[in-house]
Amino acid sequence: MTTYVEAIQKHVVLPLEKATNRIFTQTYNPFYYHGALPNLFLWVLFVSGLLLLVYYQATLATAYDSMKFITYEAPFGNAMRSLHRYAADGMMLFVLIHLFRVWFTDRFREYRILPWITGVILLTVMFVVGLTGYMLIWDADAVALTNITVNLLHAVPVIGNGLAGFFLGADLSGSALITDYTITRILVLHLGIPMFMMFMLWMHYLRITRPVTNAPTGLVFLMLSGLALFSAAFPVVLGEAAPPNFNVALDPITFDVLYAWPHQLGVAGWDPALIWLLTLAVPVGLLIVPYLQKKAMRGQFAQVSKDNCTGCSLCYADCPYEAITMVERNDGSRFKKLSIVDPARCANCGLCVGACAFKAIDIPRCDSKDVLAEIELALANQ
C-alpha cells in the first residue's frame, strides 16, 4: 500500500528535483542542500544583525530615530538592514523547504526523531525571533505588532497576565503599559533566542554523522549574490512613525506573512483563542505526524559477528547515524576492539556492510553473503 508520503515523493518531490537538476546539475541543486541553506542565511543574519546593533538604541524615545539613522544615513546601514530582512525571509523559506523535504521523502521519523523534534522547536523559536525583529523597528507597524502580541498574551488562560507582564517588563516598571523595559525585553528575546537556537542545532546534529552544513561554493555565491541583488533592488524603507500614544487602535496593516500571520488574523478581528489554537496546531501537529505512520523497520538493526569482527573501525567511521561504537574487548579474541550497534539509532541502511571487508556486519533484510551467493548462483547456471 502506498502511503501519502510515498505518493508525494514520487509525484511531486522527485519530478521537481529532476527538473531542478537540469538547471543546477546534481552538484548544485539547492534541494540537496536543504539543511545547509538555512545555515547560510543564519550566518548572514548573525553578521548583518551584529552591524545593525552598532547603531540601534533600545528605548522608546530613540528606537525609531536610530532606525531612521541606520536606514538613511549610516554607512551601509540600509544594505545591512535589507540583507537582514531578506535573509530572515530566506531562512524561513528554506527551513520550510527543508521541513517539507525531510517529511515528504520519509526522512522524519524513527531513528531521525531527534532531528525532527529539535527541528520543530527551532521552527517555533525562529518565529519568535522574526516577530521580535519586526517589533524592534518601532514604527507604527511595530507598535501594532507589539500591542496585538500583548493582547494575545493576555488571552492565555491562567498564566496570561503573567506572560504579558513579563513581555512588557512590568516586573521592573510596575506598569501594565509599554515602557522602555518592554523594548529591552523584546531585544533580549531577539538576541537570546538565537543563542538557544545554536544549542538546539547542536542537538539537531547529535545523531547525524558529518551533517552537511555547508553548501558548495558555487551555490553559496549564487544565494548571496541573489540576496545582495534583491536588497539593492528593493531596499527596505522605514515605516511611518508610531502615534505618540502607543496604545491606540490602528488602521488595517499588512505584516510579513512568514513571521506574523497570527497577528494578521488579529488585525482581521479573529478571536485570540482561535488564533492561539491555530498557531499552536502547527508545532503540535508536526510533533504528532511522525507517529501516524507504521514503522518501516520493525525493530531490525545491524548484527555484528563477534567471530569475524577485527575491530578495524571502518563501519564506525561510515555509519551515517552515529549508531556504532567501538568497545574494548577482553573475551580472549586476538583483536582489541569490537563494533557494537545501538538498535535505537540504527537506520538498517547497510552502509556499515559496504564498509566491512571481513563479512562481520550485516543487516537482516539484505545479508551480504546472500547477495554474493545470488551472484554466483545466477552466473553458475549458464
Binding site: 541502511c349 547497510g350 543487516i363
Partner: protein, 153 residues
C-alpha cells in the same frame, strides 16, 4: 536496442529457460531507479534480458567484492545504481560507494579490475528512461572491451 522483451519470447512461467546468458549484473538500490514492472520472473530487465538485476536497500551496502565477484564468475560487466548524489536516503551511501569504486575509500575496488567493465549510475526513482539509455551504452562499451580483449589474446 536489439533485445526483444522477454515477455514476448515466452510464457511467464518458463521465462528462465528462454533468457539469454547473463552479460551484465546490476546491483540496484531499491530507492533509485524504479524497476517495478520492468523485470521478468528471473529479475532480468524486460528491455534487455541479458541484464540480471539484484536489488539492495541502499547503494552504500554494495561491497566492491560483489562487483569483482560478478566479473570473476563470468559477467562481462557489472553496474551499481544509487540515488542522485545529494539525495541518498541514508545520506552518504552513494557517495561512499563512488569513493570505493574510485579507490578513495576502504574497502576499495581492486586496481586489477578492468574499470571499463564497472559502472555506477546515480538516478532517482523517476528516471527509468535515462537508466535504459545508460544500459544501452554500457552494452556497447562492454562489446568494445570484449573485442579489445579478444584482439589482445
Amino acid at each position: 536496442m536489439t533485445a526483444t522483451p522477454a515477455s514476448d519470447l515466452a510464457p511467464a512461467d518458463s521465462s528462465t529457460e528462454q533468457n539469454p546468458p547473463i552479460r551484465i549484473i546490476g546491483l540496484v538500490c531499491e530507492r533509485s531507479v524504479e524497476l517495478e514492472n520492468r523485470l521478468n520472473n528471473d529479475d532480468r530487465l524486460l528491455d534487455d534480458p541479458s541484464v540480471k538485476i539484484i536489488t539492495v536497500p541502499c547503494s552504500g551496502i554494495i561491497q566492491p567484492i560483489m562487483m569483482e565477484t560478478s566479473l570473476k564468475k563470468g559477467a562481462k560487466g557489472c553496474f551499481a545504481t544509487g540515488c542522485r548524489m545529494g539525495d541518498c536516503h541514508y545520506r552518504e551511501g552513494n557517495k561512499f560507494l563512488q569513493e570505493r569504486l574510485l579507490g578513495k575509500r576502504m574497502p576499495k575496488l581492486k586496481p586489477s579490475v578492468n574499470k571499463h567493465r564497472i559502472e555506477a549510475y546515480w538516478l532517482s526513482a523517476v528516471e527509468y528512461d535515462e537508466f535504459r539509455d545508460l544500459i544501452e551504452s554500457f552494452q556497447a562499451t562492454v562489446d568494445r572491451v570484449d573485442a579489445d580483449d579478444a584482439a589482445a589474446s
